[in-house]
Symmetry: C2
Subunit: 132 residues, 2 copies
């Protein structure tokens, strides 16, 4: 059994509220986090909402990083999703945590695409039979 990807869902509490409303800074930080994870940045898109809050996505060759912030609560929801063996999503988390300086965090790692690759051809044939 092998997972195609690792997805860290991180909660950052009690961050600096000014940084959480600064889309330019957050875009720079998330791109840096992608590089810290040894990921390849494809594109990034960040947007500030009114009255406050930022949403940003960095698409990487290995999946994506995402951040959504609620400056009024000092809170950010952050995703670090990487596939393959070369990128490490925990390094992106450590990098970003050092910049956003939350007072406390919660993290959970979810394995994505847990497939029995060894028997995949056989299973695919079974599925084909079911579909016919």
């Amino acid at each position: 059994m092998k997972a195609l990807g690792r997805h860290i869902l991180a909660e950052y509490f009690s961050c600096d509220k000014g940084i959480l409303n600064d889309a330019m800074a957050l875009e720079k930080f998330l791109n840096g986090a992608a590089r810290a994870a040894n990921a390849t940045v494809i594109s990034s898109s960040f947007r500030t909402f009114q009255p406050f809050g930022v949403s940003g996505i960095v698409i990487i060759a290995e999946s994506h990083l995402a951040i959504h912030t609620w400056p009024e609560y000092g809170y950010a929801a952050i995703d670090f999703f990487t596939c393959g063996d070369s990128a490490d999503p925990w390094k992106a988390h450590e990098y970003l945590k050092n910049l956003l300086k939350p007072l406390y965090t919660k993290e959970q790692e979810v394995l994505r695409g847990v497939l029995d690759l060894e028997h995949f051809t056989y299973k695919a044939q079974c599925n084909l039979a079911v579909e016919q």
Copy 2:
């Protein structure tokens, strides 16, 4: 206690492999899923990888939808993340499932930003005291 957002992590297994490599179709489907969830689309970005695979993100006013596909395995990892009370991520999931027709799926919902909003001002003051 209130969660700022709901995040469904969905695994679609044994989908049609052709569709999973069709970035234009997937972008149309994900945008439709956002509307089905009663979300407001801000932007979307999709990319095809070589030799196969698509990554796509739809940023919505209520957070984001994301898809990463492995056509060679008939597998897609999909995220439906919405904040607020007006959008329903499960409706996006149902909409997309009907289009991608996986033979089976796995889903888990993760609450993001579970905050004690009633006492938030008090807690923020405590955090300030810690920081000083």
